[in-house]
Amino acid sequence: MAERTMEGGGVVGDGAGSWRTDEVVAWHARPAEAWRTYRMVAGMWIRSTLAYRVSFALDLLASLVVTFFDFVVILLMFGQVRGLGGFSFAEVALLYGASGTSFGLADLVMGRLPRLGRRVRDGSFDLFLLRPAPVLAQVAADRFALRRLGRVIQGLIVLVWGLLLLDGVVWTPLKVLLVPVMLVSGAVIFSALMVLGASALFWMQDAAEVTNAFTYGGNTLLQYPPTIFAQDLVRSVVYVVPLAFVNWLPALYLLDRPMPAGVPGWAAFASPVAALGCCAVAGVAWRAGLRAYRSTGS
């Protein structure tokens, strides 16, 4: 564990101070500013990645293959059984594809956040505070890795595969609309969990793996139907960590299946609300983390 000084160094203190002034003056402009910062930093990394096109193509392909092997396990399972927890292959593919796409998007945008722990430990986090731009956008876009697009592509392929194989589902305009809403809300929920996990790193620099339990672990959980899990576990991902809103609840509506754990039917449409709630919690945690940050001063 890194040694900590009682106060940040003089320069760092000034940097943090100016950041706070910005926040007070133009809080409503911050989302736009954050997006501009993110685009600028990520764009720089994308340009540098694309300088070596063949290398990038290979990286992307590798990332696609890696995530595809994850799905091979489900194919192997369905080589042995006709259904899991009463769900057909097409239905599990839908669940898998929806969760995988949302997680992939969040991982693409926020996947660098777990590295924050190292930066807090070695003091290089100070650099982000010195720049007059939203800190979260800078940290998330740092060393942006476009090859993570592979996971999104794989998720979308499995999702489309599942949708094509589904039979007996009557598609209404509402259901069609629910698909993109589900994917975007899911990505926002996963992103918020990643920000929440990163916030904890200001206090516990080594705890990055806890976030994995909720993000990677949540993604694995959501790939399977809720019917196979203990009801307490299902309840906890509805009411405590709202992972069920990523894909389970909307997908169950798409499949005309009953909601689990006594959840009302309208919850299928509540994913955007759950996503906003997660963002609010993550935002508060992030600010608290930034305030608690003291430079290592080494």
């Binding site: 564990m1 290979l58 990286d59 590798a62 990332s63 293959v65 890696v66 092997f69 994850d70 091979v72 396990v73 192997l76 399972m77 080589g79 042995q80 059984v81 006709r82 259904g83 899991l84 927890g85 516990m204 620099q205 080594d206 705890a207 990055a208 793996e209 806890v210 994995n212 339990a213 909720f214 990677y216 672990g217 694995t220 959980l221 399977y224 196979i228 899990f229 203990a230 576990l233």
Partner: protein
């Protein structure tokens, strides 16, 4: 000389023992994954009892042993290769090569200490937790535990040998990330961490059970489940040690080519 390596191994153990928060975080994550996998296996074995020759309790034991051994045997990363690759990339490796110790033996000893700590720190707690919540098969004979630990030790050596080879590739590729990713994928899939290798169908299963990754999880689990007895048990160890010797020798050969031919990065 042996005392030097013993000191290095103890250092590896102590170093990882200082990452207390990381260890707790890892235990938490392994436990959560253990839960999720347990339920998926229960659904699978409900639908197909006796799949792969395992009963439900065997399958559940498989899940929790898998979670316990991830870091011990380096199923998804050896835990040292990033550091070694970084030293090769920056040229710090030149300093290591000047030491009056063999590079491979040095890292082997350090990894032995790391692996030992991970067994105690990240192996026992999730497994005990899994055994409390789920109905796992437990060995019927006490000496099976001893046989199991020996199989885990052999698996850990194979794990080290694989990741050492991966790290050595950095002498030529500098950025070893591509190779690391391929090794990570192979470890994830062919160790049987996602699905036991004896459930893999046909030729895929036969090949998977012959690859080195089989010795990191599948073999230790089958020793634990007492599926090997007498000569069969010795053959299982022989399989692990065969891969260990072959891969360590390959690592040594690559190392000697690398240190003779490759120009170390200045900096």
């Amino acid at each position: 000389m042996l005392r030097l390596y013993a000191t290095v191994a103890a250092g590896g153990f102590r170093r990882h023992a200082t990452y207390r928060v990381a260890t707790l975080a890892g235990v938490f994550t392994n436990t959560v994954f253990g839960f999720v996998l347990s339920y998926t296996y229960m659904a699978l074995w409900d639908a197909r009892p006796g799949l792969g020759g395992y009963g439900m309790g065997d399958a559940l034991a498989y899940v929790w042993i898998g979670q316990a051994l991830i870091t011990v045997c380096g199923l998804m990363g050896g835990g040292f290769e990033d550091e070694l690759i970084e030293r090769i990339r920056t040229g710090d490796i030149a300093v290591d090569l000047y030491r009056p110790a063999d590079l491979q033996a040095w890292w082997f000893a350090a990894n032995l200490g790391r692996s030992g700590f991970q067994l105690l720190g990240r192996g026992i707690v999730p497994m005990a937790f899994g055994a409390l919540v789920f109905d796992l098969t437990l060995p019927s004979r006490p000496w099976t535990w001893l046989a199991f630990v020996l199989a885990v030790a052999c698996g850990s050596v194979v794990g080290f040998a694989v990741w050492y080879l991966v790290a050595m590739s950095a002498f030529w590729l500098l950025d070893g990330q591509g190779v690391v990713q391929v090794a990570w994928l192979s470890g994830l899939f062919f160790s049987g961490m996602l699905l036991p290798l004896n459930v893999f169908p046909g030729a895929l299963g036969e090949v998977a059970r012959l690859l080195p990754w089989a010795s990191m999880l599948q073999v230790p689990v089958d020793v634990y489940l007492e599926r090997y007895t007498g000569w069969g048990l010795l053959r299982a160890y022989g399989f692990q040690l065969g891969w260990a010797v072959a891969l360590l020798a390959a690592g040594r050969a690559v190392q000697s080519v690398a240190t003779r031919k490759v120009v170390v990065q200045g900096g």
